[in-house]
């Protein structure tokens, strides 16, 4: 017993040292001149905005934008940490993180709690997927009385629909589940078990090019600006990043990023994008 107690004690000490060593390293690395900014990255990856490579490093449009920002704002030292989206938001409120990037849409509830970036760095294109033979669903106004595929009860897509329901008398019927499968949802639309599915164009494109179901784009619903979310105290950081983003936009770098990842410029007008709907369609 005594020997094993000793062993346990040694192991305990070793682990404690290991843990403190980790955090010491972390401290000594920080440059004294730079202000450290903790950036939360969402663990619910969302290619091509944010996803991981084989080495579990985060890549994608969001990360490239962050690299551009790092270049523009040398006074900050950006440190990235991963967490699930909901807990990241809690962490920002609790001061654990300074900002969070994962193509956040603006929702009124979140706006009360957090500081939003004023100059969006890109746009998402939420759209309606309909059956190949469908002709009457093009926008949100066509949805009341129709059956939608199940979606997650939080996040941007959900808030588009709940916002619509708040301001219209004809309500859209929303069906929620915790972790919807996009592949299954497309199949439901193609088999006409559901009338439409709301999802982002980039997701649609990636899935449809693999599964090739009998579906098509009903219409792009809107251009949803993407924002960084900050803790309320970070006015200065917010203003600095806004300024840098505006410069990047003027230099055409954000537009170039959009072209690189989507082959289209999401900064264009929605009507222009919608008129090129057939270009956006996945070739079968």
């Amino acid at each position: 017993m005594i020997i094993s107690k000793k062993r346990i004690f040694i192991l305990l000490c070793a682990t404690c040292m290991l843990l403190t060593a980790c955090h010491n390293n972390h401290r000594s690395n920080t440059n004294t001149h730079k202000k450290e900014v903790k950036v939360a990255l969402s663990a619910e990856v969302n290619p091509p905005y944010l996803y991981t490579n084989k080495k579990n490093e985060f890549i994608g449009l969001d990360m490239e934008y962050m690299k551009l920002l790092e270049h523009k704002l040398p006074q900050y030292d950006f440190k990235y940490e991963v967490g699930e989206e909901e807990s990241n938001l809690v962490g920002i409120g609790a001061g654990k993180f300074d900002m969070d990037i994962n193509w956040f849409f603006k929702t009124p509830e979140r706006e009360k709690q957090f500081l939003y970036q004023d100059v969006p760095y890109s746009y998402a294109l939420p759209m309606l997927v309909v059956n190949q033979n469908n002709k009457d669903i093009h926008s949100l106004d066509d949805l009341p009385g129709k059956k939608l595929t199940p979606m997650a009860p939080s996040g941007g897509l959900y808030s588009i629909l709940s916002e619509y329901n708040k301001h219209h008398n004809d309500k859209i019927d929303i069906d929620t589940i915790q972790e919807p499968s996009n592949g299954d949802n497309l199949k439901m639309v193609s088999q006409q078990r559901r009338d439409a599915m709301l999802l982002n164009w980039n997701t649609y494109q990636a899935i449809q090019s693999q599964v090739k179901e009998d579906v098509k784009i009903g219409g792009i619903v809107k251009k949803e600006p993407l924002h960084i979310v900050y803790n309320k105290k970070h006015d200065k950081l917010h203003d600095d990043i806004d300024r840098a983003t505006l410069e990047l936009k003027k230099e055409g770098k954000l537009q170039a990023l959009s072209e690189k990842y989507f082959d289209i410029n999401v900064f264009e007008d929605l009507n222009d994008i919608n008129s090129k709907k057939s270009q956006l369609e996945v070739q079968r």
């Binding site: 843990l19 980790c22 401290r27 663990a43 609790a94």
Partner: protein
């Protein structure tokens, strides 16, 4: 649909096995220590401490582990900030291990206590009557039997801990379950089923190994008592 590369999936998931094991082993060691301390408090009925331990056990058993993890990760640093201790920059592993230790320690203390009580008090009395000291009675009579009796419950609780570690990803530690979610996310939610099958098999295998080892220990320890 593309054909599924099972081996590739498996190797991707197993990449994160070390971190899962690290969480399991360290939490288990700390939890055993905590469990012993809590069990001693309740067995010896130490004043003031006993009601506190009972309250603690009741809280741990009645709230979801996910909530406890959030409390440790988000609320504890805020609380400590009030007394000017800043632990926000600690490694996330620290918070996860702390949460799992607090959780599993509570359960283990009850298992240890049950083990102690499974030994008839008359055996202790018998020991005392022939002049053995209480520590000696514990060492020679009670603990060997108590440990043997608690092996089945211990097995269950360790396997429970293994499965609990899958919650670590909620605060961003990329363990095996985290890797699974990343694979699914990177693939736009396609091929969920295959990945879930792979991860179930991995967890199952770990559980079987633990179960097998402890069953072996159990068998060995029962040997002298078999008729």
């Amino acid at each position: 649909m593309q054909s599924v590369n099972w081996l590739d999936l498996l190797s991707q998931v197993l990449q994160q096995l070390p971190i899962t094991l690290l969480m399991i082993v360290t939490s288990l060691i700390f939890a055993l220590i905590l469990g012993f301390i809590l069990a001693i408090v309740r067995i010896r009925k130490i004043k003031i401490l006993t009601p506190i331990v009972r309250l603690y056990l009741s809280f741990i058993r009645s709230t979801p582990l996910l909530l406890q993890l959030f409390l440790v990760y988000f609320a504890l640093p805020q609380l400590l900030l009030l007394v000017h201790i800043d632990i926000n920059h600690f490694s996330r592993l620290f918070f996860v291990i702390l949460a799992f230790t607090l959780h599993t320690g509570a359960y283990l203390s009850e298992i240890i206590r049950a083990g102690y009580q499974s030994v008839d008090y008359r055996q202790i009395e018998a020991g005392l009557s022939i002049g053995l000291s209480y520590p000696r009675i514990l060492k020679e009579i009670v603990i060997p039997q108590a440990l043997r009796n608690s092996i089945p419950n211990l097995t269950t609780q360790i396997i429970e801990l293994v499965k609990d570690t899958s919650l670590a990803f909620t605060i961003g530690i990329i363990d095996m379950m985290g890797q699974v979610k990343l694979i699914i996310g990177n693939n736009y939610g396609l091929g969920m089923l295959e990945v879930y099958i792979v991860i179930s098999i991995v967890y199952w295998a770990i559980a079987l190994i633990i179960q097998g080892t402890l069953a072996l220990i159990d068998k060995r320890s029962q040997k002298p008592y078999r008729i």
